[in-house]
């Protein structure tokens, strides 16, 4: 076996074993015939599949593993779990977007009266037509992008939803890259501060990256086309309004203390959403056996990972704050609760996954799948 063939076979390991068992030999054959019509490069060390070939196999692996229409049940469930994680994650960011959009509309005097406390609106957003105003508008754009990405996804415009979700993500990545750049060139004292900032920021970036990756990977061409009913469009707006009111009440209530803080930052709100959805699904699982689905626990497990990272990051940043007190203990409870919550989700999903039939070979290749010569 040549080095090129060996390397290509290594790339094909991205594909599921059952798929490879049927397809590997003919894919290797097609690939090797395509490399200079069978002539391999003279220098074996240079002989490797190019990036576009690797990308095409990676995309195929993603499509096969996260099955869509016509996929074997097990792979379809994985695909639906990832797609549900994308929808839930996008919904969360859209709700936060609606809360932020409400605040922006008040700040610009479009909705209600500007916030009374603190600086005058012009000190924050600049005067009409000023550079500050333009910059503030540009910085606020991701807020709208999350809402639009969610709306487009539920309306069935996947490609546009993907573009907007990536656009919404870019400023976060850009800020993180700037932080990293600052740390690299900074004096030791500033570098420590920068590293702490990065440690805090990374989990929140992850909170946005995971749903976007789920959207990009799960909503491939074979994913079921689903245009949701119109009520799905108003969910972020209604939930955003409710969340804004609830947050306002919580923050205005005296005596709630630092124990509530870990629940009202974005990571805490996301964690809360997962707990509520998880509890609701557990109820359905116990009391309505006919509506059980492994997709829900799979999606929640996937989203639990970035949520726990935000709690761990918050715990470390609280440990520098002498006034955090009960907040630190609350964060420890959140982190500790993730383990039983995760285990419960595994316990709910595993038996259903085991009952699903194992994936068959690719279509047309089984015992009765065409005439073998």
């Amino acid at each position: 076996m040549s080095l090129l063939e060996e390397r290509y076979r290594r790339v094909l390991r991205l594909l599921p074993a059952s798929y490879r068992a049927e397809r590997e030999e003919e894919m290797v054959s097609a690939f090797l015939e395509g490399v200079g019509d069978g002539e391999e490069p003279a220098d074996e060390d240079l002989a490797r599949p190019n990036w576009s070939e690797i990308a095409s196999v990676a995309a195929l692996a993603m499509r096969v593993r996260l099955g869509g229409v016509g996929a074997p049940p097990e792979r379809f469930v994985w695909g639906e779990g990832v797609r549900l994680a994308a929808r839930l994650g996008l919904l969360f960011h859209a709700v936060l977007g609606c809360v932020s959009a409400g605040g922006l509309l008040r700040l610009y005097g479009v909705l209600g009266s500007p916030p009374a406390a603190g600086l005058a609106p012009e000190d924050i957003i600049g005067t009409a037509g000023s550079v500050e105003r333009l910059r503030h508008l540009a910085e606020s754009a991701p807020v709208v992008a999350w809402v639009a990405a969610y709306a487009l996804l539920v309306y069935g415009h996947r490609r546009a939803a993907k573009v907007l979700a990536v656009l919404a993500l870019l400023p976060m990545i850009f800020r993180l890259a700037i932080d990293v750049g600052t740390v690299v060139g900074a004096a030791p004292s500033l570098a420590d501060q920068g590293r702490m900032q990065i440690r805090t920021d990374v989990p929140y970036v992850l909170l946005a990256v995971v749903p976007v990756l789920a959207l990009l990977a799960g909503y491939h061409r074979d994913a079921p086309a689903a245009r949701r009913p119109p009520r799905f469009f108003v969910v972020p707006a209604v939930a955003g309004a409710l969340a804004a009111v609830a947050l306002g009440v919580v923050m205005a209530t005296p005596g709630l203390g630092p124990g509530i803080r870990p629940w009202i930052d974005p990571g805490g709100l996301f964690y809360l959403l997962l707990l509520v959805v998880g509890a609701a699904y557990t109820g359905v699982h116990i009391f309505a056996a006919g509506r059980r689905s492994p997709c829900w626990p799979l999606a929640l497990l996937l989203l639990l990972i970035p949520a726990v990272f935000t709690r761990i990051a918050a715990f470390f940043s609280y440990s520098y704050d002498p006034t955090a007190g009960v907040g630190t203990a609350m964060l420890l409870i959140q982190i500790a609760a993730a383990l039983p919550a995760g285990l419960l989700l595994v316990v709910l999903a595993a038996p259903m996954m085991r009952r699903l039939p194992s994936p068959d070979p690719p279509p047309g290749y089984g015992a009765d799948g065409g005439s073998r010569g």
Partner: protein, 117 residues
């Protein structure tokens, strides 16, 4: 292909199989020739397209053979595959005709460049 518009790679894969059954590399080569070098399918992309076409019953396995010690699987077009390709070709021809008609009308029109400049 259901109600969805056929993708360009699927169109060229079906077209490559019109005259005779072909194996993976044969399809890649003919698709490139038919598109005058524009469509260069990668192996992963080809098998993604073939999976979909086989699942939809537009293409099926014809036979397999060993060539220089390597496996070659040959695929053929099914009757529904012929129908789907004919429908797609008619749709594309209609688009081309619409564009040509408008271009002919434009060339017959007296130039308005001076008036609009």
């Amino acid at each position: 292909m259901g109600s969805r518009v056929m993708t360009e790679p699927a169109f060229f894969v079906l077209t490559a199989l019109v005259d005779e059954p072909r194996h993976g590399y044969g399809i890649l080569r003919v698709a490139e020739e038919l598109s005058a070098g524009r469509v260069r399918l990668k192996v992963g992309t080809l098998y993604g397209v073939l999976d979909r076409l086989v699942a939809e019953g537009l293409v099926e396995l014809d036979h397999e053979e060993a060539y220089q010690g390597r496996l070659r699987r040959y695929y053929r077009l099914t009757e529904p595959g012929v129908d789907a390709l004919e429908a797609e070709a008619a749709r594309l021809a209609s688009n081309v005709e619409s564009a040509r008609e408008r271009l002919r009308a434009r060339s017959r029109r007296p130039s308005t460049a001076e008036g609009t400049a």
